[in-house]
């Protein structure tokens, strides 16, 4: 598939003796939700860290939107339209929900070497922030300090920050981690809403969510891609069942 929005070419990364990405080649086409699953230690988070620029690959490259990005900084990749969320909730805890999103918007409005004009009342930041908060369902929580939001709300806020960067593609690292059933359900609905606008790479342990959302699934085991295909194919794949679905999970 040459029309892929994101593709990786034999991506390798090892930590000491542990190979966390062993020649991963992956293609995400525009408009799809591409889930990456695999048992613990399969290298899923390493993959997201490589894609988002928090780690540099030992070998191989990443092509996003037609251009190689494998050596760009995390911030530069966000500017190209590749934004991520974290497995462990990562928001600015001392700032209000609205401030969090406004800062993400500020990041895409050129440089921030502006030393004099107050930013907190800047409507060019506040208005789009309010719109995005409403989109993720946090409109009435805008003025709450992020550290005081419920866990599920912090996850939603993180999605809002990702959206505020104006991405072409979302890298979501276990967006349902630590959520209750109801919160998970709300997150699934949110991601379904967003599906029409964004391409997504989704890493998730919650198999119900994965099969509800994903167009295609890639299975990673020990840093190696063992299968990629439609959800039904993955379910039926014997190797996958052995390595993952059948053995450790009773899903």
């Amino acid at each position: 598939m040459s029309d892929a929005l994101l593709s990786t070419v034999s991506l390798r990364k090892s930590f000491g003796g542990v190979v966390a990405a062993d020649g991963v080649s992956l293609e995400v086409v525009p408009g799809e939700i591409h889930a990456v699953i695999g048992p613990n230690g399969a290298g899923k988070t390493t993959l997201v860290n490589l894609l988002s620029g928090l780690l540099t690959p030992d070998a191989g490259d990443i092509v996003f939107d037609g251009r190689p990005v494998g050596r760009l900084s995390a911030a530069a990749r966000v500017k190209r339209g590749l934004a991520r969320s974290f497995q462990i909730t990562s928001v600015l805890r001392e700032f209000t929900a609205a401030d969090n999103v406004a800062l993400a918007i500020q990041a895409r409005q050129g440089h921030s070497f502006k030393f004099w004009k107050p930013a907190l009342e800047d409507l060019a930041l506040r208005q789009p922030a309010a719109t995005i908060l409403a989109q993720v369902g946090l409109a009435d929580r805008a003025d709450i300090v992020a550290g005081n939001l419920a866990h599920g709300e912090q996850r939603q806020l993180e999605i809002a920050m990702v959206l505020a960067t104006g991405p072409k593609m979302l890298l979501l690292d276990e967006p349902m981690a630590g959520m209750g059933i109801e919160e998970s359900q709300r997150m699934v609905e949110l991601l379904q809403d967003l599906k029409s606008q964004y391409t997504m790479l989704l890493i998730e342990h919650d198999m119900d969510a994965v099969f509800a959302l994903a167009d295609r699934i890639t299975v990673l085991v020990y840093g190696r891609e063992i299968a990629t295909g439609a959800p039904a194919d993955i379910r039926a794949n014997a190797e996958v069942r052995d390595a993952y679905l059948g053995a450790s999970e009773t899903d």
């Binding site: 988002s52 928090l54 900084s73 995390a74 911030a75 530069a76 966000v78 500017k79 934004a83 991520r84 974290f86 990562s90 928001v91 600015l92 805890r93 001392e94 700032f95 209000t96 401030d99 800062l103 993400a104 500020q106 990041a107 895409r108 921030s112 070497f113 502006k114 030393f115 004099w116 004009k117 107050p118 930013a119 907190l120 800047d122 300090v145 920050m161 990702v162 505020a164 960067t165």
Partner: protein, 320 residues
Amino acid sequence: MIAGINMKSATSWMTLGVLVMFAVMPFLAPALGEPFYVKVFARVMIWSIAAISLNLIMGYGGMISFGHAVFLGIGGYSIGIASTHGLDNAWIQWPLAIGVCAVVGLIFGFISLRTRGVYFIMITLALAQMIFFLSVSAEQYGSDDGLNIWQRSEFGVAWFDLENALTMYYVIFAFLVAALFAMWRIVNSRFGLVVRGSRSNDLRMQAVGFPTYRYRLTAFVIAGVMCGIAGILQANFEKFVSPDMMNWPVSGELIFMVVLGGMGTLIGPVVGALVFLLLSEILKDITEHWHIIFGPFLVLVVLFARGGVVGLLTTGVSRE
């Protein structure tokens, strides 16, 4: 809104009160029969400017520099060295001093901001001590005896002479007001929010697209320059510079003033400098062994008043 940024109610009254007190001190202190306190308050204001500058990187930016006093020394020595070579013109001296501080800030920041936490503390300390030892070994500039400045900076304006005590006092006051105002604008600007966001969660800031290193470096340079200005004022006020003004205990005292007053609050460093210096003056009058009282007091403040003095006085207003 975020705690500590708005100059609202309690904190803005406190700011106003402190500034009014500084403004009337040259008249109030002699009237109360304590003219010596005019000098004490001039020193408090100089230390305040230095502490305000440290607060930008430490309180708002989470960069705990243990070498910040080096900029006091560099600002001061720039004036002292220029003066010994017969260069007294303020219009040359001051930009020169500021320029040197900016360059040193850029180099030190460039190196030290590649590290974090305790490594950042140690590297800033090491770099600052390097300059300290340089000043100790500079024999033509007095080594550790220091350097007398015979003539304060000259602005070439007849009615504006720093040798006049009142003019000197109000120049310091004007710089304090300017420093506070500039800091208020900076921490609430887009730039300031990036620096504060990076303190809160640097990884997150990078992941929304901020190359945070260059913002932190800029903050480091701004803080260095502002502290350098405090050094310029100190050199002029004391008519003397010595290596002691940039030795590591001074950096420690600056950190203490910021913590004592209230980290990440606008007026905190000023209140911290005020309490720190006044209390040490008063205790010195009471007993020769004043450190025995002063030390435990500082420990108690750190243990029980997390927001510093400002935090104590404005509980319920400031949320941090």
